[in-house]
Symmetry: C2
Subunit: 257 residues, 2 copies
């Protein structure tokens, strides 16, 4: 049995009770932290909290060498942990399909996500979000500024009067979670990049989503580019037009001018 | 202090540890179940599980008469529960803004959502979903078949090669959670309605999301309309074109022909 457990948004308490129970009942616990991370905790804390050993796999250790995970799951209860929800990346779906092919039963325990928090913390209505996009670092896409595909997604959504959730790049140079050499794109950096394409446009920053004290800020992208929003993770929303209650919410909760 | 806690997708174990702790630490616990419900549990079980009394408010009791909630939150720790994430409806944002206006500190503890599960359980990639929509019962919109706005959303997403998550109507006649007189639209009913507008089109049913044994089924809408998918809640996805891994996932996990 291979159970995929989403650890949720922020720290070791972001997991659901169902997820916690799955971890408790597991013979072995694997994890990957190359698609996303829990910024409010570290591996040691997570292991102590769940009183277990977590075997962290890097990308190659999941995609090219899934054998240790799969063979363990053939005859014991194995949990595979990810930050956020599980199955958010192709890499997880691929692992699940490989398990199913071998006749290993799989199960999914959901986690809380940045996608949900983006609406929930800002008061922007869930059903008014269009397709989401990710803004990469310059060196990740080999060009300057904002890739055309990101601009097109935002323009497309704006043309339909929809909000766009912009995930910000996470550069993970080392597969080990607690080595501290990763870089998260900040919302002010992202706002600066996007202001070139979308001048005089409202942006909404959501930072530390899932933490006890998240940051939410709404202003023109040029203004957001001059501020700083504290610890990662950051994300940015480019709203369509605002319904009255959305406008009220951004004014009250996000300091919209 | 007014803490909004999302109970998550399915039963009393779908809440996060952070949410459970907020409930434990509360002086009073309110809830509403008119925007969504936890189908895997009932009020009595929820109260016993958290060893607390849950004061359920109907829509009027939140929107027209929020005073008991707000005045309690002025000088004690109050938790307000919803199914799924919190803040998904205008009604919650409105309550939060009223609290903020009165100088009451508010906090949000996220829950797992159907939106996330729709991608996670099907293998359909998260970033390929466009705007979501809700399919109402005929008598809720006063017409026959599928409202134009629902058709337009699906067509718009398909034109952009995006998936559409279709939430299915919940008819709640009585504000009390455990009275059993609510009706949930089933995915086969929805598939039958949508097949008229979108003949020979692939649909993906997700039912009992968040439960230990959810149902996922992919087939033409006409075929889905002839099947039954068990207990609520149901939802339906109308995919855009499928990437190879999405096709593999629907074949392996959802029995796509």
């Amino acid at each position: 049995m291979l159970t995929f457990v989403g650890l949720g948004l922020y720290d070791e308490r972001s997991v659901t009770l169902a997820g916690r129970d799955a971890i408790r009942g597991a013979d072995r616990v694997f994890a990957e932290f190359y698609t996303s991370r829990l910024v409010g905790t570290d591996l040691e804390t997570l292991e102590a909290f769940h009183d277990t050993t977590v075997e962290v796999r890097d990308r190659a250790g999941v995609e090219q060498d899934p054998e240790p995970v799969l063979s363990a799951a053939e005859d014991s209860a194995v949990v595979f942990l990810t930050a956020g929800d599980t199955m958010v990346s192709t890499t997880h779906t691929d692992l699940r399909l490989r398990a199913e092919e071998r006749g290993i039963e799989t199960r999914v325990v959901h986690g809380t996500t940045a996608q949900t928090a983006a609406g929930s913390l800002t008061g922007l209505q869930n059903y008014r979000f269009g397709k989401a996009t990710t803004l990469p670092f310059n060196d990740a896409h080999g060009g300057d500024g904002v890739p055309d595909s990101v601009v097109a997604t935002i323009e497309d959504n704006r043309a339909r009067d929809l909000h766009t959730l912009v995930y910000l790049d996470i550069k993970v140079d080392d597969p080990h979670w607690d080595d501290g050499d990763e870089t998260y794109m900040t919302a002010d950096h992202a706002a600066g990049l996007l202001a070139v394409e979308f001048p005089e446009t409202l942006g909404v920053v959501v930072a530390q989503a899932g933490s006890p004290d998240p940051t939410v800020a709404a202003d023109k992208l040029e203004e957001l580019a001059e501020q700083s929003f504290g610890d990662p993770l950051h994300m940015l929303v480019i709203p369509g037009s605002l319904h009255p209650i959305e406008d009220d919410a951004l004014t009250a909760l996000a300091g919209k001018p």
